[in-house]
């Protein structure tokens, strides 16, 4: 099949492609648009005749918060795999309007496997985002409505508990139990609000060069008693010995503490009595990271991530791999894909500890990714879980 044939193939399919409700465009291997259906024209505000023959990056210009579309267009021309683009980006239409748009490009090969171009599906996300916004507004409204009475409950119970003589032991114990419930609800509402803020992109990160050894040790201080209580042996950076000689990473120190608060708390809570928790860090190249994640089916998009970091920070960029390994419950295999979803808690985690909103890892992942890092894990039930964090070093 040569380029002419790709056009012929598309011609044969025009009736089908035109009828698809999503936008469809076909580009040749040079990235020139050779077909677009009516929906694609509506989405881009181009007339069909004006699109044809144009380079894809001339028609699809994006306004993005962090990422840029260059890597995506390069991937399309390589034609090695299907690629997706559009998260946190809006298409600048021909008439100047902005539309949230997702593009998925799949390479087209002939019978002998030669690459001829790509089929690009375009999905206008306007309606979807409206629904999501409504959900967020609802979540935020409900959480605020809950916080007010919870504040009164908390302070009211504190007043009752503050006068020891006025309560008999039975009522006092009941009141203390109620107090703990309220405190847990307050924390849950806090999580709900943080999630809705995060989804609205309203959490501001203030990154600075950070020595993670210091920060992790500081964060751990808060959990010292818990670790002693569970008799868990905690090792910090065994490979570093006594030095804290690691390159800095560029993250928000407060948010980074939040990340480790979550991971340490999980690592202790879901550990076994007398178990271990090993926190480790080492430098790695992008190839070493790929090797580490190659056989992990749950890690997606690592190659694109590494490529975009190298493109931005320079090809010789090194990465820091941080790991935190517990010897605890592990995550059941069938629940592993859901572990970073909001409000998800694994079956064995619920059995072990009924408190917890299931928002910790969701939140952690979002913060890690917004800070330019990646998180993934390896886990085996009844053996333990290791979480890995990857950040480019400075």
């Amino acid at each position: 099949m040569n380029q002419f044939n790709l056009r012929q193939e598309v011609k044969k399919m025009v009736m089908i492609l035109s009828g698809i409700p999503d936008g469809i465009a076909v580009v040749d291997k040079e990235g020139r648009i050779i077909f677009s259906n009516p929906t694609a024209e509506v989405i881009t505000a181009y007339l069909g005749a004006d699109i044809l023959g144009k380079k894809i990056d001339q028609v699809f210009k994006f306004q993005c918060e962090k990422n840029d579309s260059d890597v995506f267009f390069v991937e399309i021309l390589k034609g090695e795999k299907a690629v997706r683009f559009g998260e946190n980006c809006r298409l600048i239409r021909n008439d100047g309007q902005l539309v949230p748009l997702e593009m998925i490009a799949s390479p087209i090969y002939d019978e002998v496997g030669d690459f001829h171009g790509s089929l690009i599906a375009l999905r206008d996300l306007t309606e979807e985002q409206k629904i999501k916004n409504r959900q967020r507004e609802f979540l935020s409204f409900v959480s605020h409505q809950l916080r007010l009475p919870l504040g009164s409950f908390r302070w009211g119970i504190e007043i009752m508990l503050s006068d020891k003589k006025k309560l008999d032991p039975v009522h006092r114990e009941l009141m203390e139990d109620l107090y703990n419930v309220v405190i847990r609800l307050v924390a849950f509402v806090h999580d709900l609000l943080e999630i809705s803020r995060l989804e609205e992109g309203r959490i501001e990160l203030k990154p600075s060069p950070v020595n993670i050894v210091k920060i992790i040790k500081e964060t751990f201080e808060e959990f010292k008693n818990l670790a002693t209580g569970f008799n868990i042996k905690v090792s910090f950076f065994p490979s570093l010995g006594k030095s804290d000689n690691l390159p800095n990473i560029f993250v928000d120190p407060d948010r980074f503490k939040d990340i480790f608060r979550n991971l340490i708390s999980n690592g202790l809570t879901f550990n076994t009595i007398g178990g271990s928790l090993i926190i480790e860090a080492k430098q790695a190249t992008s190839e070493e990271i790929l090797k580490l994640t190659r056989h992990n089916n749950l890690v997606q998009g690592m190659e694109q991530y590494l490529e975009s970091v190298l493109k931005k920070n320079g090809q010789d960029t090194k990465f820091l791999i941080l790991s935190i390994a517990d010897a605890g419950l592990g995550i059941p295999k069938n629940e592993q894909p859901k572990i970073f979803s909001s409000f998800f808690r694994a079956r064995n985690a619920i059995e072990k500890s009924t408190s917890g909103s299931g928002s910790g890892l969701y939140f952690t992942k979002a913060i890690v990714e917004n800070s330019g890092g990646r998180i993934f894990f390896e886990s085996e039930e009844n053996k333990g879980t290791t979480f890995y964090l990857i950040f480019p070093t400075l």
Partner: protein, 126 residues
């Protein structure tokens, strides 16, 4: 008892349960007196008339919001230097920043800290 020896706290909050709780808590404190106002204009009037030593101000108030009255109190010579603590159910960073930028001494999210911690804050700003 000499009245003027007492430190006066003005609580501007439309939530009667909160004001009741604060009143109960203040009864335990030696040397504190409490005045309550349920909306912004009453709060402003009492801030001028009663000359409190500290004001605890809610943000979500009927009619005018707490930020309005905060700017007004900060531009009025009689109340310009009175320390103001915001106590609100909203804990958004933007709200906290705005409150502090308008001159509040500190911002407390209702329910997030204990009542004792709130009183530590009050004593800190006095």
């Amino acid at each position: 008892m000499v009245k003027n020896k007492f430190k006066k706290i003005l609580v501007i909050d439309d939530d009667l349960l909160i004001t009741k709780i604060l009143e109960l808590r203040i009864l335990k404190e030696r040397g504190f007196d409490i005045i309550v106002a349920a909306d912004a204009s009453e709060g402003f009037r009492k801030a001028i008339d009663e000359k409190p030593d500290v004001i605890i101000l809610d943000i979500l108030l009927p009619k005018k919001d707490g930020f309005d009255i905060l700017s007004k109190l900060k531009s009025e010579p009689a109340t310009r230097n009175t320390p103001i603590i915001i106590s609100s159910a909203i804990g958004d960073e933007e709200y906290i920043k705005k409150g502090l930028a308008l001159g509040a001494k500190t911002y407390v999210v209702k329910g997030k800290i204990s009542l004792d911690a709130l009183f530590d804050q009050i004593k800190n700003v006095l």
